[in-house]
């Protein structure tokens, strides 16, 4: 279930699909001189879909990208991203800066401004250094290549405190043609220290009508990016953008939609699990599976509650098979729950079922928990719906990272 490789996995990220070029450079936004400006361009006119944060404290680049998608009908040529500053809670000046960032990119690419999407990640409440971005963009544009190395530089340029870059790509067949889907993402928590935070960019060289592209993105995100948690937070800047440019010659229609969705989901899952693996202070990747839900919403709600429980996350960090913590969270999750029919498994080891503990299995469960990729399961005993959410353990390093961070 958590295997990241499949027969169709290929190397690279956003530039694995044909007709996309990318670059990552340093514009001096980060004080340490690291890569902080990424540009992704489709040579052919492309169609985009995007999902954005539900946070009401919405950042300026999210406002501008939404406006542009509405104005262009999704027609998109470029995405420009900076790290080191979230441009969130920055008022009218911040909005103007996000617009200027798009305008300068459109000038360089030679397209209408509404065909440029923008994203920012970094500290909240700090003014975007738009002069540095304007000054740096021509060099970023000049650096555009189309090799995997250029996509990799872009993937590095969108990082903040991420311990490693996240890239993924896959190849599927549609109508006898090879179609590629590739992506990059950043994020080291659902929200990072004063950061704003999770960004994902996915490309494909299939041609996908706008409605199908939107439907596929929402479906894929729901089972991947929306099914991960590091600390239960939702940032002011979160977005996932998907761009389809048709360069492969293959077109996705209703009959090939399932294959496209499967490929898209596999890329999104690899990127999403990369975020959890690289979660702040994380040492373990944990799949929380809830079965026996009265509804699928119940199953998801209980899985999220368990995945965000400090007591569950600390027990897993300590390798302690404390099944009572899982039951206690399920019981307070606000979903239908029947204690007499509930069950808890750590890996495949049953620790509670039929209303009674199986403590004799605790040593085996403790040994299982010493691994780094784990599954814990709770049956709510209330129906037949299920849901899986991915989380990481909670370590003292998480506290240290977030307590010692200074703006």
């Amino acid at each position: 279930m958590m295997a990241l490789t499949s027969a169709s996995t290929i190397a690279g990220g956003v530039t694995a699909p044909r007709g996309f070029r990318a670059a990552g450079t340093s514009a001096g936004i980060k004080a340490n001189g690291g890569l902080d400006l990424a540009l992704l361009v489709s040579d052919a006119p492309a169609q985009a879909a995007a999902v954005f944060t539900t946070n009401l404290a919405v950042a300026a680049p999210v406002v501008v990208s939404r406006e542009h998608l509405a104005a262009s009908g999704g027609a998109t040529r470029a995405i420009v991203v900076n790290s080191g500053c979230a441009n969130a809670c920055t008022g009218d000046d911040g909005l103007q800066a996000a617009r200027d960032m798009a305008r300068e990119t459109a000038r360089l690419v030679g397209c209408p401004v509404e065909q440029v999407l923008v994203a920012s990640t970094g500290v909240i409440g700090v003014a975007l250094p738009i002069d540095k971005i304007r000054g740096g963009l021509p060099a970023t544009f000049a650096a555009l290549g189309n090799g995997a190395g250029d996509g990799a530089l872009a993937a590095r340029a969108i990082m903040t405190t991420d311990p490693f870059p996240k890239e993924a790509a896959t190849q599927i067949g549609i109508g006898g043609l090879d179609v590629r889907i590739g992506g990059m993402a950043k994020g080291s928590g659902m929200i990072e220290p004063m950061m704003a935070t999770m960004l994902g960019f996915v490309t494909t060289d299939a041609a996908v009508p706008r409605a199908l592209l939107d439907r596929a993105l929402r479906a894929a995100v729901d089972d991947t990016f929306n099914a991960i948690t590091v600390d239960g937070e939702c940032s002011t800047n979160d977005c996932v953008m998907l761009v389809a440019n048709g360069t492969s010659g293959a077109a996705v229609d209703e009959s090939s939609y399932p294959a496209f969705l499967a490929g898209l989901t596999s890329v999104c899952r690899e990127l999403a699990l990369g975020i959890v693996r690289g979660g702040e202070g994380a040492t373990k990747l944990v799949a929380v599976t809830v079965t026996g839900g009265a509804t699928s919403a119940d199953a998801r709600k209980a899985a999220k509650a368990i995945a965000n429980s400090l007591l569950v996350k600390t027990a897993i960090h300590g390798g302690d098979p404390n099944w009572g913590r899982l039951i206690a969270v399920a019981g307070r999750a606000g979903v239908a729950f029947d204690l007499s029919r509930a069950a808890v498994r750590i890996g495949s080891i049953v620790l509670f079922r039929d209303g009674r503990p199986f403590d004799e299995a605790a040593p085996e469960a403790a040994a299982y928990l010493s691994g780094s990729e784990l599954t814990v399961s709770v049956d709510l005993g209330a129906g037949s719906e299920s849901s899986t959410v991915w989380t990481c353990d909670l370590s003292a390093d998480y506290v240290r990272i977030n307590a010692e961070y200074r703006t």
Copy 2:
């Protein structure tokens, strides 16, 4: 607002009101031989009200106490409590053990079994050692005194990992007579390591009709025990019980209800804040006040979300005035929120208002955060309702305590 003393505060706890006796002894439930069995008896027939956990994985003593209150109409003579074992997730055997614990207490006190309430706290999923409790109860009954020292022993006997016992008492005037209200509580998190967890017991020597007693308890708990959080968890055993025996000669009616409620609330608040101060790994007590809510439910929901945010709690632990974290949580709390009208204050220091940061105030805010009793405030900019919730900081010690705990 957080002052624990008022003109009417008096010494002691559950035995400060007249006509109550208490004891705390060791029955050998705790492996270390510590106090683990508490008994509270009212010499006169008394009326009780109680509120219980909303967790659906409800513990056996909660089931039995609910049954007894229903059967007796609230008439209550005794409360028996053990620590060291929660008697939760223990099936039919656990229910039988809780009933046996009440029956043996009723025999000693000489009252109908339904006039005995029971509570347990400790490890989930372990069988209650009912033989030890039956063996120990006669000695506990024999130890019943009516001095403050006996109440203090009971307050110690209900502790699990609590760093200190929680007692409070107050005196008010009703109809020219002195009325006393006293209580004890335990809990070091909303839920503790594999524990089940928050218990509160409050006594008064006023006579209070059942309906008023119930109304007063619910109102007082809503603003005190239900307004604290350590880790956002809700245990399988939580309960607060209030017993009124009329020994003072004063009777509470609608006209004196406000004075009684004020006294009751002050006792409950002192106990509740004691739980937060003694939260696992806690070094700071933090009042989170949300104003500008469209509804009071919105204000409470946002205050709870902020008080449970790992990023807010770690920032406060580190003394970092990261106001962006407060805004980001308010924006994702699922309540009405207007960024352009929102505000953030740390203490009385404004860090964000009118859509823009006041970063020049950050050093002053950082100095304020070095204190141990703090207030942080968020205005949602969406109305005029407010709510205050108390929480503690999140330290690496919390993780250590909960990761290293072994059953």
